[in-house]
C-alpha cells in the first residue's frame, strides 16, 4: 500500500471518483441508446439496467431505493421509453432487493447471478407488460432474444462493474 502525502486537489479528485463513478457509469450506459444502430427487434439488453443492477448487487450499501427514481427518469427520456417505465420498475426492484438482502444471509457469485437473473426477468417482463398496455397485443416470444442476451451479458457487466469499483476505491 502506498502511503504518500497527497495534495488536497488529488484527494478531492479521489473523493469525486469514489462518489460518482457508480451513478456516472449508469448514466453513460443509458447513453447506449444514442448508438446509431437500427434493429428490427429488441435484441440488445438495456445496458443501463444491467449496470445499475450489477452495482446494486455489488455494493448494496451505497444505494437507497429512491436513487433509482432520477436514474430511471434519465433512462426513460434518453431511450424513448414511456416516461415512468424505468422509474417504476427500477425503484420497485430496489425495494424488492432490500427485502431479499434482509432475508439472504449468504451471498456468493452464484447467488448474485440467480438474484440478477430474477431481476432481469422481472424488468423485461415489466417492460413487456407496459408495452402491451401502451400498444397492441405483443407476443412474449418477442422478448426472448433480449432475455437470453441479457442473462448472458450480465456476468460480463458484473465483472466490468467490479473493475470500476476497484478503480473507484484505489488510492
Amino acid at each position: 500500500m502506498r502511503r504518500t502525502v497527497r495534495s488536497a486537489h488529488s484527494a478531492g479528485a479521489d473523493e469525486l471518483r469514489r462518489r460518482y463513478v457508480p451513478v456516472g457509469s449508469v448514466l453513460v450506459a443509458a447513453l447506449a441508446a444514442w448508438l446509431p444502430i437500427v434493429t428490427p427487434a429488441p435484441i440488445f439488453p438495456d445496458l443501463a439496467f444491467l449496470v445499475l443492477l450489477a452495482w446494486r448487487l455489488l455494493r448494496p450499501e451505497i444505494w437507497t431505493a429512491p436513487a433509482a427514481l432520477p436514474l430511471g427518469l434519465f433512462n426513460d427520456i434518453v431511450a424513448g421509453h414511456p416516461v415512468g417505465q424505468s422509474m417504476l420498475l427500477w425503484t420497485l426492484l430496489f425495494l424488492i432487493l432490500d427485502v431479499v438482502d434482509a432475508r439472504l444471509a449468504w451471498r456468493d457469485h452464484w447467488m448474485d447471478w440467480l438474484v440478477g437473473a430474477a431481476a432481469i426477468f422481472f424488468y423485461i417482463s415489466g417492460s413487456w407488460w407496459i408495452a402491451r398496455a401502451m400498444g397492441g397485443s405483443l407476443d412474449y416470444l418477442v422478448m426472448m432474444p433480449q432475455l437470453l442476451v441479457s442473462l448472458l451479458a450480465f456476468p460480463v457487466v458484473m465483472r466490468t462493474a467490479l473493475g470500476l469499483d476497484r478503480w473507484r476505491l484505489s488510492r
Binding site: 447506449a32 441508446a33 444514442w34 448508438l35 446509431p36 444502430i37 437500427v38 434493429t39 428490427p40 427487434a41 429488441p42 440488445f44 439488453p45 438495456d46 445496458l47 439496467f49 448494496p60 450499501e61 437507497t64 431505493a65 429512491p66 433509482a68 427514481l69 430511471g72 427520456i77 434518453v78 431511450a79 424513448g80 421509453h81 414511456p82 416516461v83 415512468g84 417505465q85 422509474m87 417504476l88 425503484t91 420497485l92 430496489f94 425495494l95 432490500d98 438482502d101 434482509a102 444471509a105 449468504w106 451471498r107 417492460s127 413487456w128 407496459i130 408495452a131 402491451r132 398496455a133 401502451m134 400498444g135 397492441g136 397485443s137 405483443l138 407476443d139 416470444l141 418477442v142 422478448m143
Partner: protein
C-alpha cells in the same frame, strides 16, 4: 456466522427514521411513476417536449455515427467510390436525391397503374413531400419499435405524418423535436395500417408484431385470400396514409395467420420521406359537423 447486514441502522433513532424516510420517498416515487405512465398511456404525446428535447440533443451523435456506419458499409459493398464522390460533390448528391424522387414517382405510378387496371376506381391526389431525412437510429432495448429521423419541427415534421421510403411505407411520426423525430414503425405492435392486396384489391389490416414482421388480418371469413409473395399497398381508407404505398410482402401463411415482411427495411434505406397527412377526397368535401 453470517455476515452482518449492512442495512441495519442500529439503535440510533435518527438513522432509523432516515431509513424509514427513504422508503416513504421510494413508495411515493413509484406512485408518481405509475401516474406518469398512466398519463403517457392516455396521451402518448404528452411528454413530446421532453422526449423531443432529448432527441435533439442526441441528433448530432446519432447522425454522425450513422454516417460513419453508412460509410463503412458502403466501402464493404464495393461502392466506396460512390460515397467519396458524393462527399466531394454536392451536386451529385442533389442529383441523387432528385433521381430518387423520380424513382419513387415511377414506382408509385407503377402501383397506381396496376391498381387502376384492377379496380378502375378512385384517382389518387399527387402526394407531395415535406422533407426527406436520414434514419439515424432505432429503439434499442424497448419492445416498441421506433426509428429516429434526423428531421424535426424545424423542417415541418409534425406528429401523425406518414413516413415512407422509395421501397415502401416506414411508419408515421410519433413525436418530434426541433431537429429530430421518432417514427412509429409499421412493425410496431401499436401500428395498424389499412392495406389492400395489389392482386385483387381485397382489403386487410396490417398490424406489427414487434419482431420485424407484420401480421395481416382480413375481413373475409373461411378463406385466406393471401398467397406467398403477394404485395400489399396502403388503401388510403380512413386517411393518414396516402393510397398506393407498398407496405409488405406476404412471406408465410398458417391457416388464419398471415405473416408478412415490410418492403422497406429502416436499417437499409437511404432516405425516408415525410409526407403530409392524407385526407381522402370524400372526407375533405363533407363539411365538418357542428359541435353538439
Amino acid at each position: 456466522m453470517a455476515p452482518p447486514s449492512k442495512r441495519r441502522p442500529g439503535f440510533s433513532r435518527r438513522a432509523q427514521y432516515g431509513l424509514f424516510l427513504t422508503y416513504v420517498v421510494a413508495v411515493g416515487g413509484i406512485l408518481l411513476a405509475a401516474l406518469l405512465l398512466v398519463v403517457s398511456a392516455l396521451d402518448p404525446r404528452g411528454f413530446n417536449a421532453l422526449q423531443g428535447a432529448a432527441l435533439d440533443v442526441a441528433n448530432p451523435v446519432r447522425a454522425g455515427g450513422r454516417s460513419v456506419i453508412r460509410f463503412f458499409r458502403g466501402v464493404g459493398q464495393g461502392v466506396g467510390n460512390y460515397f467519396f464522390a458524393a462527399s466531394q460533390n454536392d451536386e451529385l448528391k442533389r442529383e441523387l436525391a432528385a433521381s430518387r424522387r423520380e424513382l419513387l414517382k415511377a414506382k408509385a405510378t407503377d402501383f397506381e397503374n396496376q391498381r387502376l387496371k384492377r379496380l378502375a376506381n378512385l384517382v389518387e391526389a399527387t402526394s407531395d413531400e415535406i422533407v426527406s431525412a436520414r434514419v439515424t437510429s432505432s429503439s434499442f432495448a424497448s419492445p416498441r419499435r421506433f426509428a429516429v429521423l434526423s428531421a424535426g419541427g424545424a423542417h415541418g415534421v409534425r406528429p401523425g405524418q406518414p413516413v415512407r421510403a422509395a421501397e415502401g411505407l416506414i411508419g408515421r411520426v410519433f413525436e418530434s423535436g426541433r431537429y429530430a423525430s421518432r417514427v412509429l414503425l409499421v412493425t410496431d405492435s401499436a401500428s395498424n395500417i389499412p392495406v389492400r392486396l395489389v392482386r385483387n384489391g381485397v382489403p386487410a389490416i396490417a398490424t406489427g408484431k414487434g419482431d420485424g414482421t407484420i401480421d395481416l388480418k382480413t375481413l373475409e371469413v373461411g378463406s385466406n385470400p393471401f398467397r406467398r409473395g403477394d404485395i400489399l399497398v396502403t388503401s388510403g381508407l380512413g386517411g393518414i396514409y396516402p393510397p398506393g404505398i407498398p407496405v409488405a410482402v406476404v412471406t408465410g401463411i398458417d391457416r388464419d395467420n398471415t405473416l408478412a415482411r415490410p418492403t422497406a427495411n429502416p436499417a437499409r434505406i437511404d432516405f425516408a420521406i415525410v409526407q403530409p397527412v392524407y385526407v381522402p377526397e370524400a372526407a375533405a368535401d363533407t363539411p365538418a359537423e357542428p359541435p353538439q
